[in-house]
Each structure stands twice: as structure tokens, then as C-alpha cells.
Amino acid sequence: MLEVRDLGVWFGDRQVVAVDALDLDKSQTLGIVGETGSGKSMTAYAIAGLAPGMGARVEGSVKLDGQELIGLSDGALRDIRGRRIAMIFQAPISSLNPVFRVGDVFLRALRLHGASKADARERAAEAMRSVALSPDLLHRYPHQLSGGQAQRVAIAMAVALRADVLIADEPTSALDVTVQAEILDVLEKLRAEESLAMLFISHDLAVVSGICDTVAIMYDGEVVERGPVSETLHHPSHPYTRELLAAVPKLTTPEATDA
């Protein structure tokens, strides 16, 4: 469904991403793992079409169901964003506009992509329920929600918009461990129910091993290893992957957290 080939992202003269290939299928979860500065988030932004807005130059190919996204007009890209590719971010409360009620953003986003007022309200309510939240929470302001609730609202938006691909940029890094588990459960459920294809970016190997099918390890902008989760994490071939695994504290080694 999602095919990335020879993706390059530059800030001025500095190249921050040089990904040769990434593939994602329906109902599949691809994890992108790396340390800070490895370019993993930037890769995600480039795929979602947000990179130029950050001042970056993008070259290469990103195909969604065969349609080339790089070089697409602004208008066409805006159609894709939200409707087909949705994103959730780290620090969920900061990702919501603080001076608007959560429902405002939600409903307007739905109507932006063609829903009627009534339709939007229905879909929003339904989506909220599917992530185990009461639709009443839509009347609240972001700072009145907990981190977990805010993240679930963001996920609900992706569900309501009926996106095909969900890109999750460190969605649980800013949350407590117990809340983390909740969010991961929600994402799992969605993968099963909506056949969501998910790109899961994280620096946390334990989380990745729990939720992802395949994984790509990034270092310094490049993908240094890729493959099914069990294989890659149990039998790493690249020295960097081995280093990463070695750095994980004993309590959460992949063997101990088989999902």
C-alpha cells in the first residue's frame, strides 16, 4: 500500500534522511526505530507531506496505492492528509490547539474532507466510542484532558476520517507506562477492526517489539536493517542493531515482553 523508494530530505545542504526502501501493507504495522537524530521522525513527516512546511527539501518517491505523493500539488496533498494519511504525535496535549475545544478541531477536520455537519457529529461520536472515550469529552479544552485521553482523541480523529495509513510519531513516549499500554491496546484494536496500516516511530524497542510486525532500524538518516520483528530483534545482523539491543535494560528485553 505504501511504497517508499530513495527518499531524501535536506535542510539546506545537510541531508537528514536517505532511506532506500520502506514498504507497508494493509493491516500491517511497520516500526521505525532509532535514536534521537536518526531521521526517523523526519522520514515520517516527509511521507505525510509535512516536510516542505518545515523548510525541508524532499526528493524521491512515496507511493500510496500507486499514486506518487512527492511533487504533488498543495491542494492534492491536502486532500491526502487526514483522509488517507493521518498522524498522531508525541506529547498529545500539546498537539491540540489550546484555545479551541477539542470537538471544534475534530468536526472542522471532518467537514474539511466533505462531511456534512450532522454526519461529522455522528462520525466523531462513533470514533470517540471506538477508542473508549465518551463523546462528551469533545466539549473540553485540551488542558482539561489527561495525556492518555488526548492521545485517544487524536487516534479517534484518524478513525473518523477513515484514514488508510496512520503514522504514529512516538505516541507513547510522553505517557506513563500504564497509559502507554492502554494506547497500544487501542491501536491494536484498530489494526484488527479497521485494517489500519500503521507506521510506528519510536526509540523504545520494547514497545516496538510488542506492536509491530516488521521493523526498520535507522541510523544517521539511513535504514541499516529491516525485517520481521522477531527475526530482526532476536537475530540482528547489523552491528548497530546489536548495540541498540544491548542498551536495553534487562527487564524489558524482547523475550520478556512477548505481546
Partner: protein
């Protein structure tokens, strides 16, 4: 982390390309330097230095711009180019003096209020609030009036209305620094309050004030010119720019040069000050990101 352009938190003054990265600041400095040079060189460069004082030339009254008098002459025949050049000396000196006086009053008060907190803080801040509630121009006018209009008294009047801003700024900084652990340890070690204030609190609270001062310079200049324009500041024959404009106001329709050049002088000097203030603020902004 995403690879966004690294913000410059410490200003790199010595690297090449400084001009390109801080065009506003450089432009402002260049303008100001020009004005300062004119002011300093006035006694030698001006065509008729006597005209900055009490000289009168009844035969040259209200002459238009010519090679002898590039800016024309005023209502008693004095060369306006000379008067405008000497006016630079007055304005520049005034701005510096106001900032100095306002700083000497405001900064210590702010330090004391922020460091000692409690009753002292409350009292000082209420007084500051009252002064702040006063429209600056009104208060300056009142004081200038009480003290008999002159450049010196105008300077004092403006300084008296300006200090509260600095007190407030310094107090905020001082208060937050005073609660830091290393200050506590100083006290435990028996270091005197005075020493703590001077060696630790002051140096760390002063930056915002200096930045604010650079931004205030323009406003002070305009305030002074306004007060003189209303007749409560500089008096004839002092060649202060605001005064010249007020003298020329009634002749404006027919002798346009009288008002124009002095006004332009005010405009450009204020622009220079404001550009410098903006430039410094931009340079010190820790969130400076050079993106689209």
C-alpha cells in the same frame, strides 16, 4: 529528534556573515554611527556654528535651501543645517542621560524589591504601579512645567516617568534568581546581602534591562521632541529638533524647509534607535530558527 535547523542561543558575534544574519541591527548601528559622527563633528562641519546659539541675521530671514544654506534659514535668519546638526548633540546626550538616570533609580529599586520580597517588595511595586498608571507624556509635561522648561529639566522629567519599567523588569529577574539554591548557600556562608546583590543578582538580572533600554531609546527621543514641540522642553535659542518643528509650524505652508529637515532628523534618529533595539532583540531570541 527531528533535524530542524539549530537555534543560535549564544550570539556569534565574531563570525563572518554577521551582517547578513542581523541586517536590522547592522543597519541601525550604521545609521546611528553616522548621526553620532555628525553630532561630534558639528562645531567643525557646520556652516555657521554661531547660529546654534543666539546669532540672528535679519536679512536672511526664512530663506529657502541654497548652497549657502542647504537646509534654509529660520525665522531669525539662522542657518538650519547648523541648528539641525547641533540638535543631534542635544538629542543624543538627552537619550543617554535619561537612560542613565532611569536606570540608576529603577534598577536598584527592582533589585531590592525582588531580592528582599515581603513588605518591601509590596511597597515598591505599588509605587511602581502608580507611576506606571500615569501616562508618561502627561507626567513628563507636568514635571517639566513645575521645574521650568529647559532641556535639563525635561531630561529629569522623562527619566522620572521611565524608571518604573526597569524596576518591574529587574524585580522579576531578581526574584527568580534569589530563590536559586546557590544564593541560599551564599547566605548560609554568611555573605552579606549587599555583596550577594552586587556580585550575583545584579549581573544576572541586567540583560533584559539593557535590551529594553535599547528599545526605549527611540521612544525617549520622540517624547523629548514632543515635549519641546509643546513648548515645555527646550527653549529658544537651544536648537532642539522638536522646538525647531514647533517654531516652523506656522510657516509650514509657505516655508516648507523649516519644519521638514528637523522632522526628518527626528525620524531617522528614531529609526536608527528602533532598528538597533529590534536587532538586539532578534539576536538574543533563543528560538531563532532560520526556516521558510
Amino acid at each position: 529528534m527531528t533535524a530542524a535547523a539549530a537555534p543560535t542561543s549564544v550570539p556569534e558575534v565574531r563570525t563572518r556573515g554577521f551582517a547578513r544574519r542581523n541586517p536590522t541591527l547592522v543597519l541601525g548601528i550604521v545609521l546611528l554611527v553616522l548621526i553620532v559622527l555628525v553630532a561630534l563633528a558639528a562645531p567643525w562641519l557646520a556652516p555657521a556654528p554661531g547660529d546654534a546659539g543666539t546669532a540672528t541675521h535679519p536679512f536672511n530671514v526664512l530663506d529657502g535651501p541654497s548652497s549657502a544654506h542647504p537646509f534654509g534659514t529660520d525665522l531669525v535668519g539662522r542657518d538650519l543645517l547648523t541648528r539641525v546638526m547641533y540638535g543631534a548633540r542635544i538629542s543624543l546626550r538627552l537619550v543617554v542621560e535619561v537612560l542613565l538616570i532611569a536606570g540608576l533609580i529603577g534598577i536598584p529599586l527592582g533589585l531590592i524589591a525582588g531580592y528582599f520580597r515581603g513588605r518591601v517588595d509590596q511597597v515598591i511595586m505599588r509605587i511602581t504601579d502608580v507611576f506606571l498608571a500615569f501616562p508618561a507624556l502627561l507626567l513628563s509635561l507636568a514635571i517639566a512645567f513645575v521645574l521650568t522648561p529647559s532641556v535639563q529639566n525635561m531630561t529629569i522629567a522623562i527619566a522620572v516617568t521611565w524608571w518604573p519599567w526597569y524596576t518591574r523588569l529587574v524585580r522579576g529577574e531578581a526574584a527568580s534568581i534569589a530563590t536559586r539554591p546557590y544564593i541560599e548557600s551564599c547566605r548560609v556562608l554568611g555573605v552579606s546581602h549587599a555583596r550577594i546583590l552586587a556580585r550575583h543578582i545584579l549581573p544576572n538580572s541586567i540583560t533584559p534591562v539593557l535590551v529594553q533600554m535599547s528599545m526605549d531609546a527611540g521612544g525617549i527621543l520622540l517624547t523629548a521632541a514632543s515635549i519641546s514641540f509643546l513648548g515645555l522642553g527646550a527653549q529658544d535659542p537651544t536648537p532642539e529638533w522638536g522646538l525647531i518643528v514647533s517654531q516652523g509650524a506656522q510657516y509650514f505652508a509657505t516655508q516648507w524647509w523649516f519644519v521638514t529637515f528637523a522632522g526628518l532628523a527626528i525620524l531617522f534618529t528614531a529609526i536608527a534607535f528602533n532598528l538597533i533595539g529590534d536587532g538586539i532583540r532578534e539576536m538574543l531570541d533563543p528560538r531563532r530558527v532560520v526556516s521558510r
